[in-house]
């Protein structure tokens, strides 16, 4: 009896490591922050190139309370939204068609496959001619950029639907429509989610790059203006805001585009929440 108790106690004695995930992340942030401050103050770089974080935060607050900023944010936000919706829905439809029909897929998909890694920014001059200097060309570039990964991802997703599940559907004599609604669509959700996440990032990049090149509005334009007058803290503040929104968008897609599963059942107890950060 005593021997068993001893073994039990020994088994529980494994020490928890000091560097947990949460602590590592905090440490990394602290180190990055410290390096930034040191580099900025060191005089290695031209004065003002790496401004102290205090200045950046101050600039960020200034932006968030400025009507001008929110106007530009709204313009970019609208461009990204429209580009994202257009590009991803067109991409999803194309992907469905390519994945559903073997022959069509074999003929047309290589076009997408080989065009996908080309730098879409090179199409901007054509789009500027077609759509002018306004929001149209920005939306067009964002949409074209996000079309490709979405189409390829969905096409792959359709082909990768577990064939056993399709056989199950056939044995129950499901109609075509039922097969799509009850089997294909749920099975495609992971591919759709991945495509949407990548598509969002690419739409943002596409819209911003075209704003930077030639525009009178939007956050890309703002950032360039601040750069031109060498207001680096404000420029960095705009960039930080953009990164933050991109991250938020990703989290939102993750939350809303997912299959039902056991994670729904796990209640987020407060202790579980804090355990993540220590």
């Amino acid at each position: 009896m005593a021997a068993v108790e001893q073994i039990g106690r020994a088994g529980r004695a494994a020490p928890r490591p000091f560097w947990t995930v949460g602590r590592l992340r905090v440490a990394a942030l602290v180190v990055i922050f410290a390096l930034w401050e040191i580099a900025g103050a060191s005089g290695l770089f031209y004065r003002g190139v790496l401004p102290s974080s205090y200045l950046v935060v101050w600039a960020l607050l200034g932006l968030l309370t400025s009507m001008d900023f929110w106007f530009h944010a709204g313009v970019t936000g609208l461009e990204v939204l429209v580009a994202f919706v257009l590009g991803c829905s067109a991409g999803a439809l194309a992907g469905l068609m390519l994945g559903a029909n073997r022959y069509v897929g074999a003929v047309l998909e290589p076009f997408l496959h080989y065009l996908a890694p080309t730098p879409k920014i090179v199409f901007l001059p054509i789009l500027l001619i077609l759509f002018g200097v306004g929001m149209g060309s920005k939306i067009a570039l964002g949409a074209i950029s996000s079309f490709f990964p979405m189409a390829l991802g969905v096409a792959a997703g359709v082909r990768q639907v577990n064939p056993v599940l399709l056989r199950v559907g056939r044995t129950f004599s499901l109609s075509r429509f039922q097969m799509v609604r009850m089997i294909y669509l749920p099975a495609l959700v992971p591919s759709l989610a991945t495509g949407l996440r990548i598509g969002l990032g690419i739409s943002i990049v596409g819209c911003l790059m075209s704003e930077i090149k030639l525009s009178r509005m939007g956050l890309g334009f703002s950032a360039m203006e601040y750069y031109r007058v060498f207001d680096i803290p404000s420029m960095l503040a705009v960039l930080i805001f953009i990164f933050f929104c991109a991250a938020l968008g990703n989290v939102a897609i993750d939350k809303f585009v997912r299959l039902p599963g056991p994670q729904d059942r796990q209640k987020r107890k407060w202790s579980g929440f804090t355990r993540r950060f220590t």
């Binding site: 577990n162 129950f172 039922q178 009850m182 959700v189």
Partner: protein
């Protein structure tokens, strides 16, 4: 004379492949009565899965005829239910929703289909697990969900294609008992494909032994063991005799299959 629940008349199949054609099945005829449990056993490559797919309707161009209750059928039909060897539960549906799936497709009312699904889950021994997702359950439990889902369709004939092949031995034995229990309770006509001789003897009324490709029925063995059966009788003497008799027939066919594979690997 009563009409057999399942009748195969000269069912045969030739596959067209890149290099020519392969005769998978020679004409097979058999009758299965209501409530019977038939096992089809044979070496790898004998065409038993082809036979299963033909009866189940996944292959619809073949020679011969399949009749259910005297009515000829071809292609997938709601009177024939199939359970597959691989994982076939829908990962995005709970156990209950998986079992309710075929009824949902048929348009059965929500209350009714959920209550029937609950009954079926109880039948396969999974009551209490209705709200679990397949990812939270073991392989044996997932196969039980698949069986319950197929039964939800109320098929006249239940086809099972090596449903326990992916499970470990102990789970397989316990599930075998479970399947027997269900089959007896529902008087469900069942056809099981397996390569496990003990399983065939444990579960069936008759065992069909198939020859190596091209597949035909080499012998039909009546298993005259008392019902209700269970895995407990596996050590018994008569059980051992049946197993030995089947192996006697199978060994010849199985070694032909092995020679063929080695020949292909060496020369082909």
């Amino acid at each position: 004379m009563t009409i057999p629940t399942l009748r195969l008349t000269n069912v045969a199949k030739t596959f067209a492949t890149g290099g020519g054609s392969v005769r998978a099945l020679e004409p097979i005829s058999l009758d299965i009565r209501q409530g019977e449990f038939i096992s089809v056993i044979g070496p790898s490559g004998c065409g038993k899965s082809t036979l299963m797919n033909i009866v189940g309707g996944l292959i619809d161009d073949y020679e011969g005829e399949v009749q259910v209750d005297g009515v000829p059928v071809r292609g997938c039909h709601k009177s024939i239910g199939m359970v597959f060897q691989e994982e076939s539960t829908f990962p995005w549906r709970t156990a209950l929703d998986n079992v309710a799936f075929p009824m949902e497709a048929l348009g059965v009312e929500r209350e009714e289909r959920l209550s029937r699904a609950r009954d079926l889950l109880k039948l396969v021994g999974l009551d209490g697990f209705e709200q679990r997702f397949p990812s939270e359950l073991s392989g044996g439990m997932r196969q039980r969900i698949a069986i319950a889902r197929t039964l939800a369709f109320q098929p006249r004939i239940l086809l099972m294609d090596e449903p326990f092949a992916a499970l470990d031995e102990q789970t397989r034995l316990l599930l075998g008992d479970k399947v027997l229990q269900i089959q007896q309770e529902l008087n469900q006509t069942t056809m099981l494909i397996t390569h496990n001789i003990a399983e065939a003897v444990q579960l069936s009324d008759r065992v069909l032994i198939m020859s190596f490709r091209p597949g035909r029925i080499k012998r039909v063995l009546e298993i005259d063991l008392p019902r209700p059966r269970s895995s407990k009788m596996m050590g018994g003497e008569r059980f051992g005799h049946y197993v030995a008799a089947i192996w006697e027939d199978l060994r010849e066919e199985a070694s032909k299959g092995l020679q063929e594979m080695e020949r292909l690997r060496a020369g082909g």
